[in-house]
Each structure stands twice: as C-alpha cells, then as structure tokens.
Subunit: 526 residues, 2 copies
C-alpha cells in the first residue's frame, strides 16, 4: 500500500481550488433542489439511504473526491485491513472488528486460529449462556430467574453497548423481544455504582464485567464495589458475574465468574459493539436472535464499503465529503442529530468512535501532519436539539456540518393525532424543514431574523430503527471513520493520547508529585 500524507496527494491541491465551489442556497432552491435530492443519494444496507443533496458537492467535487479515493487507495486499504494486515501499526495489531459480523475476504489466521471462527464461537457461547438465563437453566442461588443485566465497563465497553441497548429497548418491548432490563455502571465516581445498585434488585441481577486487558482501573474498582454489595446482601458474587475479556487477561480463567466470553487485541474498544462486548449484554437483554439481526445489518453495510465507486459507497462518500468540509472548507466540528429518541446516546458513541480514532497530529509513521484531522463531534436527538443549540448552528459565526438521521415509523407503534397530524409526522416534518432551513436560509429585512443558509447537511433515512438498521448505521460510521483515517494517513486504531493522564493519576494516588500537580491534589484532598 501507498501510505502517504494527504498534502502529498496531487488531488488535494485540486480539491483546495474547489473551496466554496457550490452555493447551497442556489442549488437547493426551486426544482433544481428536488432534482438534487433524486440524484444525490446512495442506498445503504437494511433499507437505509444516505442523502447528500444538501452537502456542498456537485459532480465536479464528487469527481475530485473519486480521484482522491483512487489516489489514496481507500478500498484497497480496506481490503488489506479485512484480510488481516497489521493496520494498527503503532500497537502492531490486526484490525478485525468487521470480522465479528462477517467474512469480507480471505480467512484471517492469527495466533494459530481462524479469527472469524473464533469470534463466531464466542458469540455462540454468549448466545447459549443468554438462552440458559432466559429459560431458567442458569438462575440465582435461590433458583429465581435473573431479571436485570448490568454491564460494568467504561469507554468502548460502555458507550457503544449502552447506545445500542437504548436504541433497541422500545423496539424490543413493542415486538415481544424484550428479555431483561439492562443497566450500566461506568464512572469511577462511586455515586455511579451506588445509584445503579440502589435502583435494582441485586439478588436477581447478573453483572457483565467488561475489560479487554482485565486491568482497567475504573472497571475493577466498580467490580469490587458490586461484589461488596452482593456480599452485603448475603450473595455469592461468583454466581452473579460473567466476564467479557481477552483470553490472556487475568479474568479469563477466574473461578469468580459464571462464564467468560472472549474478544482479543484486534478489536478496539470503540469498535467492539459487534463483539461479545456488545453481544453478551444485548443477547441477555433482547435474545441472541436480535443480536444476530444487528450483526447482519452491520455485515451488509461492510460489504457496501468495498465498492471503489464513491457514488456507490455510502461510508466512503460520507468520509470524503467530511474531509472536504474539514480540510478545504475549514469547518472545525460536526453535529450528529438523530430524529429518534431511541438514538439518544448514539451521538455520544460516535463522539468516542470518531474523536478517539482520528483526533491525532502524527501520521501512521509517527510524523507530524500539516493539516487538520478529526473534528469535534457532538449531538443530541432532534427535536430536542432544535430547542437548544440549533440557534448557533443556524446563526452562529462558525459553520458546523450536520449529520441527520430519520425514520418513517416510530418504534412503539403508539402515537397521537394533534392538529391533524401524528407526532411521528411532526418529527419527520421537523427534520425535513431543518435540512432546508440550514441549506437555503431566508432573507429578512430584520438582519436578526435573517438566515444566511449555506450550512451543509446529510441525512440517513430508514423505514424504522430495527436491529438490522441499527447495525447498518453503526457500521456506516465505523467505516466512515476508517476511510477518513486512511485519507489523513493516521492510525485510527490506537489511542496513545489517553496514556499520560493515567500515568499522572497513578503518581497522584502514590503521592509521588510536586509542583502544580501536588497543589491541585492537595486542594482536592487526595
């Protein structure tokens, strides 16, 4: 592969000349706008479609992005990745999260085993365990069924699985797929665990301890907190806990757990929702069949990412438009705005996925880069965001590109008609209206009521947020981030930026500090 910095790619200069090339206000007005909506979209998996008519692109920009994709060998690099190359060069690791949901290329043999078979085998173990919990073969010591599953994990062991659980909770309840309540403990703040424990019946709860290394301090601390609570309730912790970890971790063979399900170093935390990190808790909550459907949606989306034609590859297209917005147009942030309350924590997951993957200043060879990389990512569900930070998005001094998501149907099937329309119709009307308000704006003789427009957005539209659609959505963004990392020539799969804080925190706890660190530690009475 030809790993090169973006500013050494010849198309990059050409792309720079296309700064401000498309006037959104103009092209999105009138029937021309309707033509763009028809033309500028690409099917995703699970019935989703990515619409980019309201992005600042036209055929000339798209052709330049195609040349950039070709020159940076994006799909070839993806192929290398899923065929088992050492893409995470810093940590000398393969990058195999796509393999947890499908076989995209050759068999990947590592550590002497077929990795696809390994991931499928672990998922099967988790599925069988979940089935036994559901049918009462595995119970608490009194023989009562477990009613609640509590994930203990932080970062990738928390944000993704939590967002996925919330995304499907109402759907599962409405479709008869709901098996167990799930809860999550993540923060080392003891009030997090204390408050979750107070809200559940620990005697009927199963705890899923998730740490790849088995050494994550927050997670081990919360494990102890939970074990104390179980013991105080006269319960045997080992009858209430399972571990999700790597085979080489201290947790792997411990007798302190009912079972252990494995992932490995080739699955980054933020990419682990489709491994047992998401699989154990989601299978417990909704049953293994639902988790399987989620994986199928992700696998189908991964297949689409193979297409070298940017107009036919939604993740690659989304990635390249993002690069154009970041490096050519100069926009510093991106907002993720799902019009679906079920996706309330999806932006927080994408925030980790994107910012932890591509928030870097050195290329994959450790050399500084001379261009901006990953943007700040934030978001809240619409319509809530409309009554909050949208003011800045519409009339602020910086332009923030927007990523909308919308579904035709809601999940619960419950709705109410007011003023002749349903809530779901109002929700959808709002997202359609916002796209146009951001794109075209509106002149008013009162400048305070004027909208400049020219604020680009895309929208993923689906029929309903089902497990398949969620899987496709998740994989879309994972692959988008991967392609952007390739364009920026980054290693998107390590996170050395989190290390220094850990080292210094240990020094504080060991009272091995001086200067300002000592001063702050004293103020906090550590």
């Amino acid at each position: 592969m030809n790993w090169k910095n973006l500013d050494s790619i010849s198309t990059y200069k050409k792309l720079g000349e296309l700064k401000g090339h498309v006037n959104l206000q103009e092209v999105m007005s009138g029937e021309n706008g309707a033509e763009r909506v028809k033309k500028y979209n690409v099917p995703m998996a699970a019935g989703l479609t990515y619409y980019y008519a309201a992005k600042q692109v036209d055929d000339e920009v798209l052709d330049a992005l195609q040349t950039l994709a070709d020159e940076t060998e994006l799909t070839q690099k993806y192929e290398e990745l899923y065929n088992g190359a050492v893409i995470n060069t810093g940590e000398k690791r393969l990058v195999l999260h796509q393999l947890t949901r499908g076989q995209l290329g050759k068999a990947v043999i590592a550590d002497g085993v077929d990795k696809r078979a390994f991931y499928v085998g672990e998922q099967k173990k988790a599925a069988e365990f979940a089935n036994k919990v559901h049918n009462g073969e595995i119970t608490n010591e009194k023989g009562e069924k477990f009613t609640t599953a509590v994930q203990i994990g932080i970062g990738g062991s928390d944000l993704g699985p939590r967002a996925m659980y919330l995304a499907l909770e109402n759907w599962a309840k409405a479709t008869g797929n709901f098996k167990m309540e799930a809860r999550f403990i993540s923060n080392v703040d003891p009030d997090d665990a204390a408050s979750v424990l107070k809200s559940i019946d620990v005697s009927r709860s199963l705890f899923v301890l998730v740490s790849k290394s088995g050494t994550t301090l927050e997670t081990l601390t919360n494990e102890s907190f939970v074990k104390d609570a179980l013991r105080n309730a006269g319960l045997d912790p080992s009858k209430h806990m399972v571990a999700v970890t790597s085979e080489t971790s201290p947790l792997a063979s411990s007798s302190e757990y009912l079972a252990a399900f494995f992932m490995d170093d080739y699955i980054g935390g933020r990419y682990s929702s489709t491994s047992c990190v998401g699989g154990a808790i989601l299978s417990l909550a909704f049953g293994p069949e639902v988790f399987e459907r989620f994986l199928e949606g992700a696998a189908a989306e991964d297949e689409l990412a193979k297409n070298p034609d940017v107009r036919q590859n939604p993740a690659m297209l989304d990635a390249l438009i993002g690069v154009y917005e970041r490096n050519v147009q100069g926009y510093p942030a991106t907002a993720v705005l799902p019009y679906s309350q079920a996706l309330s924590r999806f932006p927080a997951h994408l925030q980790q996925l994107d910012m932890e993957s591509n928030g870097k200043s050195v290329n994959r060879f450790g050399e500084p880069v001379n261009y901006v990389t990953g943007p700040v990512i934030f978001g809240e569900p619409g319509t809530n965001g409309q009554h909050s930070f949208y003011q800045l998005l519409h009339q602020g001094t910086d332009i923030v590109p927007l990523q909308f998501v919308g579904f035709k149907k809601n999940q619960t099937g419950m709705d109410v008609q007011i003023q002749g329309t349903s809530s779901q119709q109002k929700l959808c009307a709002n997202v359609a209206a916002q796209i146009m308000a951001f794109a075209c704006g509106k002149n008013d003789e009162n400048p305070n009521k004027s909208f400049a427009g020219g604020r680009p957005s895309s929208i993923v539209i689906g029929d309903q947020l089902t497990p398949e659609a969620l899987g496709a959505l998740l994989a879309h963004f994972e692959n988008k981030v991967m392609f952007q990392g390739f364009v920026w020539n980054l290693n998107s799969f390590d996170q050395e930026g989190v290390q220094l804080g850990k080292v210094l925190a240990k020094r504080v706890l060991a009272h091995d500090t001086d200067g300002a660190l000592r001063a702050f530690s004293d103020l906090l009475e550590i």
Copy 2:
C-alpha cells in the same frame, strides 16, 4: 450604556498583540506552577473556588482583560440588567432571571407589579402545593399519594430542570430529602412519551406541563399523549396535571389543571431553572427547602458578579478568559467536563445556555459583527470522557479549552477502597492529573506518545455537590454567558435562529411545499 462592538474597543487590539503570550508548558512546570495555583484562583459562592492557573493568562493578560471589562462597562451593564432595563432589545423585554433568586438592586416594577414579589409569590405557591402533595392533602382520586412527578417540556423547560434533578437525586436520597421520583418527557418523537409512561404508574403520577407561551407544539402534543394515557387508565387528567406558564397563556386559567404556577416573558427558557420551571418539579422531588437552598447558592453567586475587579469576579473572569481564547487564540470549541456522575446532563444544559445565547452573527442592533462569537460547547462527565474523546483533546490538531468541575466528597457516602485508595480519591486524582497533562504535556522519543501540552483548562473545586453548590455553579455559567454577550455586543436573550425551522415544519405538515422540501417530505412519507 455604551454598547459597542468588540472590534471597536481599543483594548481589543492590545489583546490581539498578546496572542500566544503565555507558554503554559513553561509556566505550569515546577514550583512556579504551584505558585500559580496559589495565586490564580477566586472564591465563588457556596464554598466553591474557580482555579485558572492552567489558563493561558498572566498578570499582563489579566490587566488587559481588566481594561476590556472596564471599557465594555460589564458590571454597569449587569447593573442595568438587574435594575430592570430592556436588555433583550430584540423582543423588547427585561431580563430578570436573577430576580427569581434575589434582589440585586432596585425594586423592579413591570406590568404594574414588583417583579421580585411576583416570583417569590409563585415559588411560594409551588412550595405549598408540593407540601400538600407530600403530606397527602393533594392525592389522586382514590386518595393515594402521588409517587412520581413527570415534567413535560422541551428546551429550557427540560434541559435545566432535568440536569438539576439528576445533580441532586443521589444527594437527596442520601440525606433524607428525597420526596418523589421525577421523570421527563420532551421529544415530539412519540416513543419518548410512550417509554416514560410505560415505566411509571400513571395513577400515582403528577404531570407538570411547562410552556411559557402555552403554544409549544412538542409540549402540547405530549400533553395530549399523556391525557390519552390517563383517560385510557380510567383517570381524570385534570386531577393529575399542573401547569407552569405565563399568566397570559391559554393554560393559565384552565380548569384542566390542579394548579398553575407562573413565570413571565422576562425569564428566558434557558435561564428558567430558578423560576417555577425548575421550582415546581424540584420542590416536588426534593421539597421546597432544598429548592430554597439551591436559590440561595445562585443568589450568592449573582452578588459576586457585581464586583468590577476581574480578579474578584469569577463569572466575569471566566467570561473574559473565554473571549481571549475564542477571539485572540482562535479556539473554536469548549468542553465542559464535570468529575461527578451527578452532573451527567449539566454539559447538555450549558450547551443550550451558551450556544443559544451567544451563537449569533449580528449585534444587539441587528448589524453583522466582524468577529467570532459563541463557541461550540460539549462535554461528558469524567472519568468517562477520558476513555472517549479525550484522545482528540490531548493530541488532536485543534486546541479545545476545558472547563473542569470537581468535588472533594461524593454524594452517597458509599465508597470502596481498592489498591489503598477510595473511588472518590481516584476520581479526584484523575482530574488533577488531566489538568497537568493538558497543560504541560510530555515529550517522548516516539512522537505518537508525545503530548504537546499547551491546552488550557480551569477547574471549579467544591467540597460536595449540594443544593447551594449547584445553584452557585448554575448562576456562575449564566453570568459568564451574560458577560460574554456584553463583550460581543450581542443580545444573549432572544433566539430568532430557531424560528425558520418551525415555519418550514408547519408548511410541511400543511403540505404547502415544493422543490427539495417537498422531495424530503415525500421520502419521509409525511
């Protein structure tokens, strides 16, 4: 008052010459850093302190900021505001949220009444109502006590009150101040209301409908949704609902509510947590005495904001440092990072407060400004964020200023010792470590493991997150945003940027559309 654009203020040019003036890595290293921590802090109310040693300031920058404060007449403008001037010029309204918690200056007479007396009177009504609910004088039709209070509101009627409730829930449970569970329905997505209703016993629930105008479409839609659910359960909705609204709203005198508590047009939604918008739900949840303590903390903080000395006025100082970072240093975003799980939704509240107030491109006279205004605001609680987006904060290509919050003690009093330290100590050690990692960074022979440092942060440190501390924290940020609006010469109290989307959404629902708006509406099957 002398309302002038920032770029016409003479100090602004001088400030521009101070770009990059302080090398954080240098000044925060060694014993000099410890000296800075001792020197660069200012007391807030309720035992909180604002520490800004790790900001890119020194005496020269602070002197320039003092001159800027003087020249822009910040405390005089604040005085105008609390004495009842029409500061919200666009809507021709007074700005009186500080008056909900204290009398800062002269009596403010408007609409023929003393406004302080009006707000206190409404709070008293809400307090008496809450007491009657708690002591069983007001019950459901079967004479059973209400156990749950559900707020129906969106934007400012949701984010602030919800964040405040979550901030005090564990504290209240630990201190015997917990009266009723609170829940929140906000999104027009019908799954939001459906899922909250499924999780509660509606027959024992009291709904607090919050809409200043009484015409917020999302809120009225959710009201209907809830009324249907009550009727379907054989209950009389009018026995389960109270309204928080303005006296002139259609809800004010309706027989469909058990009671109505009033605010008015002088309290912006995002500034309404200390009015009955927050007061009704918080008094129901924790009792009126706790709400009173929350107001006292806010009132004390408001008093501190009168001080014309920037080094003695935490909100004004925070505001001015923010202006320096935004307009001189050129940083596009700010992260809010509370090391307290109880503050999990506080960043979402500040996101609205800040971005809706100062995300504007025209000055208070409707003229375009030639400088950047409000930044993007985002955040999650630490330590969770450390395992997520901190990678970009440490090693990304953009610098993002940080606002930390930390407390010496946790709220529940529950904790666990692991490896010789408590969870609370680990939490505090992490925030201290992060400040220093961001400020000083670390060189490593492997550039991928190097940290450039020079990333500025401040921290508010308190003893514990109590009602008083929360009130002080809330008022601090409200006043910070107010002062920044003054510096940027904005009207921070309107939000015309949210109007266009509303208008277009109505057109979609009326099928009065063409072009791309019609195309998107068709795709979403509205």
